[in-house]
């Protein structure tokens, strides 16, 4: 079963084989027998592993330029966003990889878990492997939660305020836990360094430890194989992990990579205005994968039941599943109760997420060319006589630096320009009726962009 020694092996391979027993090492890693042969259904674990490695690599890259204190974090992320090499927006690209890599990783972890569940692959003797997988799921969610704060923009700050408040709802230990995570009662410098340390030091070490554990167990008990077919037929069709499954996995990884790269180019991650604890009008939104918990917070009273209760039940079910479910039947078609209840939970998570997204204030979608024209209109029509934007302008009207985050519609803004008193009776703002309809639209676009984009390039 060892790698066959062939005459084509290079001198280098022979050298290594003598010193580190390369062939038998490779044999251990690659000659995994797969009952029933290689299948596309088995690629999800490798896809998750790939996104994890991508997160490691891009995360280290981001840390090259990141400054983990409240007075520098936002500046450093903005700096990264503007880093260019030749014509390549390298900074935004690397940050995009990390940002979209995180989302895709959460999706893939979910798909991997679902596949293992449907295949009944968590059953004896793979209970411990499943358990380690549940730990890896928890690490993934913790990484997502802690990474969200690091850019230190409005979204990060207010999202984390809500997130840590939820932890505070845990009975008995909650308040202590919350202030331990925050490093005090409020969100500040210590929260950021706590989150940074957890995100970049603790989690990667734990990830490596448990991924290795997961894989070693996998190598020892082997893959569960298809849920159909007798063991004799599966044995007759068995293949090694290498090379067909490896090739399938590699192609699946390539697909994930193309997807992440595409998303990073087409939808680069945004950066809102720097965290402003005084901005009481900001309505926080969580990362999409926490939407359902966010929605539960609104729906269920007392809050604690929805926020702590349901996730706790899900965690408990995930942990206990292989120890309680001792039925050796693996086919999902003969386990209707567990499969249907899982689909029900998934369906409600999906429903809650959609409801949450629908409930969020929609910000005006930006057309950057129009924003640029609007800026000129803003600067030449006397707006700055009364309004302050990023420290420049008058004091008579309200500061508009973060106006785009409030979520007024374009129509509301266009009415505001020509008839302010319809929104604010007695408003001293003069009617800007001399603006053409195009100018009004551009101006509305510009005002909607404030606090969301257009940050100064600090790289040159």
């Amino acid at each position: 079963m060892n790698m066959k020694k062939t005459s084509s092996d290079s001198r280098f391979i022979q050298y290594l084989d003598e010193r580190i027993r390369l062939r038998s090492l490779l044999g251990f890693l690659l000659e995994e027998p797969m009952p029933g042969g290689a299948r596309w259904a088995y690629v999800f674990g490798s896809m998750v592993l790939f996104t994890l490695v991508l997160q490691f690599v891009t995360g280290v890259m981001l840390a090259f330029y990141y400054g983990g204190t409240p007075d520098h974090a936002w500046d450093s992320v903005n700096y990264i966003d503007h880093l260019r090499y030749g014509n390549l927006d390298v900074g935004r690209l690397i940050r995009g990889f990390h940002y979209w890599g995180a989302s895709i990783m959460v999706v893939l972890v979910g798909v991997h878990l679902l596949q293992v569940f449907l295949w009944g692959a968590y059953k004896r003797p793979r209970e411990i492997m499943w358990l380690v997988g549940v730990i890896l799921l928890a690490l993934t969610m913790t990484a997502a939660f802690t990474g969200y704060l690091l850019p230190w923009d409005e979204r990060a700050y207010w999202g984390t305020i809500v997130g840590t408040n939820m932890i505070g709802l845990v009975p008995v230990v909650g308040p202590l836990l919350k202030s331990a995570i925050r490093g005090g009662t409020g969100l500040g410098a210590l929260t950021l360094s706590h989150f940074f340390a957890i995100h970049t030091m603790m989690l990667p070490s734990l990830f490596i430890l448990f991924v290795v554990f997961h894989l070693v167990i996998f190598r020892r008990v082997g893959p569960a194989g298809p849920f159909r077919g007798t063991s004799a037929t599966l044995e007759a069709r068995k293949e090694y992990f290498y090379p067909r499954q490896v090739l399938m996995d590699a192609l699946a990884m390539l697909t994930v990579f193309v997807l992440i790269a595409g998303l990073s180019v087409v939808f680069p991650p945004g950066l809102e205005a720097t965290a402003n604890p005084a901005n009481s009008s900001y309505s926080p939104t969580p990362a999409w994968y926490f939407d359902w918990i966010f929605e539960l917070l609104k729906m269920i009273r007392p809050e604690i039941l929805g926020v702590i209760g349901l996730p706790a039940i899900i965690a408990l079910v995930l942990v206990m599943l292989p120890f309680v479910d001792k039925n050796i039947e693996r086919s999902p078609f003969r386990r209707p109760v567990s499969v249907l209840s899982t689909l029900l939970v998934l369906g409600s998570i999906l429903g809650l997420s959609i409801a949450a997204e629908a409930g969020f204030k929609k910000l005006v979608p930006l057309d950057l060319a129009s924003v640029k024209r609007g800026k000129i209109v803003f600067e030449h029509s006397g707006c700055m006589g009364c309004h302050m934007v990023m420290g420049k302008g008058g004091h008579i009207g309200p500061d508009l630096s973060e106006e785009g985050l409030i979520g007024h519609s374009e129509h509301w803004l266009e009415v505001q320009f020509i008839n302010s008193s319809s929104h604010f009776p007695g408003s001293p703002m003069p009617p800007f009726t001399f603006l053409s309809p195009e100018q009004r639209r551009d101006l509305a676009q510009y005002v909607s962009s404030l606090g969301r984009t257009g940050w100064p390039d600090t790289t040159r």
Binding site: M1, N2, K4, T6, G27, F28, P33, P35, G36, G37, L54, V57, M61, F64, Y65, G67, H72, D75, S76, N78, Y79, L83, R84, Y85, G86, L88, V90, G91, L93, I94, P125, R220, V221, G222, G225, S231, A232, L234, E235, A236, R237, K238, E239, Y240, Y242, P243, R244, V246, L247, A250, L251, M253, L254, F257, A261, T458, T459, R460
Partner: protein, 309 residues
């Protein structure tokens, strides 16, 4: 704890009636279930596959089957279809001699034969390598650019208008002028206090109005084009090893306290270890006498005037 099952190869195999019908040769392992399912018995003509459940009794010296007759009707064991099981797969609870546990080969090897299976695997391995290279390159290129991006960033020249005007300066008497500037490192902007020497000259005919750097032609095009016969601006950094030369009005000389490099008023070195004159900085004088300078730093310890970017 369960008693360990010991298989010893070569022991005699007896049938139900106690006749010796062969010897124990190998064990067959079903990888799918991680179980031993068959034993291989060498009878007088060939190797035979016998189901494990047929074993009635197993000791270290003899193996007795439930089966009454000979093994003639059982399938023949074809060793070319099997291969050895690595030790890390050995099932717990058994003692098995090394090399005696066999399992079915993967299907491509059984169906295609070893050499064709190998070349097919080789093809798939190369395809995998291609995919990996593709991902690697498209990752390494942006990362390389990303790492180098900051290093390649050009410092933008930052002209600073000083708080002092030309007519406020004494003639032919160097003045150490302090001003506030910003030092930039990546996203960080740190306010710093800097000093330069300002030397006002009486006029264009004044021999001192030409700095030694100009005379020796050490200046860069920027420094050449931005100079004034009315004012010389000298860097406060000694070109020897970076101390700060001081002006002694009595001797009309700059003297560096560290290793006693001595310079004249236009920066000319007249003694000491310094490899070049004091460095002249670019300056611009407006009509109203306002002074703008560009603060530059240069490599110390070498005769050339090389700007640190």
């Amino acid at each position: 704890m369960r008693q360990e099952v010991v298989f010893r190869m070569g022991i005699p195999v007896q049938n139900a009636s106690g006749q010796a019908i062969g010897t124990l040769e190998k064990l067959v392992f079903l990888e799918t279930e991680k179980k031993i399912t068959e034993i291989v018995v060498r009878d007088f003509s060939s190797l035979k596959r016998v189901p494990l459940v047929w074993i009635r009794e197993l000791t270290e010296h003899v193996l007795v089957l439930d089966h009454p007759g000979t093994l003639e009707d059982l399938p023949v064991f074809d060793i070319s279809q099997f291969e050895e099981v690595p030790t890390w797969f050995y099932p717990p609870g058994y003692r098995i001699e090394l090399g005696s546990l066999l399992t079915l080969k993967p299907c491509d090897e059984r169906f295609l034969g070893e050499s064709e299976a190998m070349s097919r695997r080789d093809f798939m391995a190369k395809s995998t390598g291609l995919v990996a290279t593709l991902i690697g390159i498209s990752l390494v290129v942006p990362i390389g650019g990303y790492v180098l991006a900051a290093a390649k960033t050009k410092l933008s020249d930052h002209w600073i208008t000083l708080s002092i005007r030309l007519d406020q300066l004494p003639v032919d008497e160097p003045v150490s002028h302090t001003f506030n500037a910003v030092s930039v490192s990546g996203w960080m902007r740190v306010p710093v206090v800097r000093t330069v020497w300002l030397i006002r000259h009486s006029g264009t005919t004044d021999p001192l109005s030409v700095s030694e750097d100009q005379i020796l032609g050490l200046d860069s095009p920027l420094e050449k084009s931005r100079s004034s016969p009315l004012l010389t601006v000298l860097s406060p950094i000694c070109p020897h090893l970076g101390c700060s030369p001081q002006w002694f009005s009595g001797k009309k000389l700059f003297i560096c306290p560290c290793h006693h490099s001595i310079y004249e008023m236009n920066g000319k070195r007249i003694g000491g270890p310094a490899p070049r004159p004091m460095d002249q900085l670019p300056v611009q004088i407006e009509k109203d006498g306002a002074i703008s300078i560009l603060y530059e730093e240069f490599q110390v310890g070498i005769p050339q005037k090389i700007r640190l970017s």
